[in-house]
Symmetry: C2
Subunit: 157 residues, 2 copies
């Protein structure tokens, strides 16, 4: 886990937002993620459920898989995961299993978030792994992307 | 979701146990999973975290990915997931996301299970998807495989 400056946090969340926009190409819910270690992005991912027709291919899972391959290690010690939207139950479980010590998310997910909203899986002491958690970085942009997506989808229907 | 006979449940849990034994080759914790639809296995998986050096490659995730590919669909409606050990938080989240309506597990996981032990993610009404849950099929065999694995690992250390 590293001490990132506010400027660095904003930079990496912008990178996560770039990933989120890639989801839009196949009408996937726009959520993006990057994993950072020693100032370098070691894994990127965007939600690709519709694109790949795979239920588990959320942004965080894609980024964890990419970072695992990059590092040649399933343990992502000393890394920080940036994600545009608060992680769901599955992804929060995955973050713990990958031993990621720090998570920074943009906007809350009141309905399905497991970083404090519906559950607080990320900080459950019983799970052998606790995460330093921060939120609100570029929250407005992260939330806006989601709102635009759902508004467009409703209009189409 | 289908009405399986006790004989069919035992048969498919034995198939999950075969998968679990495959984990042992690379010293992975022996957990196996099969997903069944209309009497046919549409996805198989075993825990392969060490084998693949990927944190999320639990038996259930591997089987869901395989079943998604088999069906060409991220929704696994009308299917039953058999797994030798109670699913963790990540896998319980994934089961819901894949819309799997029925889960049958062998032995409980008191420490990390999210099918009633630590959490009951699978049956949380708020998550838009609830699962019919059954446990105890070949529980002794499923648990024994785990106990033997951890005993051997302690002896080696």
């Amino acid at each position: 886990m590293s001490d990132l400056t506010q400027e660095e946090k904003t930079y990496f969340m912008q990178e996560a937002l770039k990933e989120a926009r890639l989801s839009l190409a196949k009408e996937d819910i726009p959520i993006g993620c990057v994993i950072v270690k020693k100032g370098e992005i070691i894994g990127r991912g965007h939600n690709a459920r519709e694109e790949l027709n795979q239920a588990v291919m959320h942004a965080e899972i894609m980024a964890i898989n990419a970072a695992n391959r990059h590092e040649g290690n399933w343990r992502l010690l000393d890394s920080t995961l940036f994600v545009t939207i608060e992680p769901c139950v599955m992804c929060s479980g995955a973050i713990g299993l990958a031993r990621i010590p720090q998570v920074i998310y943009g906007a809350e997910n009141q309905k399905f978030g497991a970083g404090g909203s519906l559950y607080n899986i990320l900080q459950d002491k019983r799970l052998n792994h606790r995460v330093s958690l921060e939120s609100g970085i570029l929250a407005a942009e992260c939330a806006q992307l989601m709102q635009d997506f759902f508004r467009q989808r409703r209009t189409k229907q």
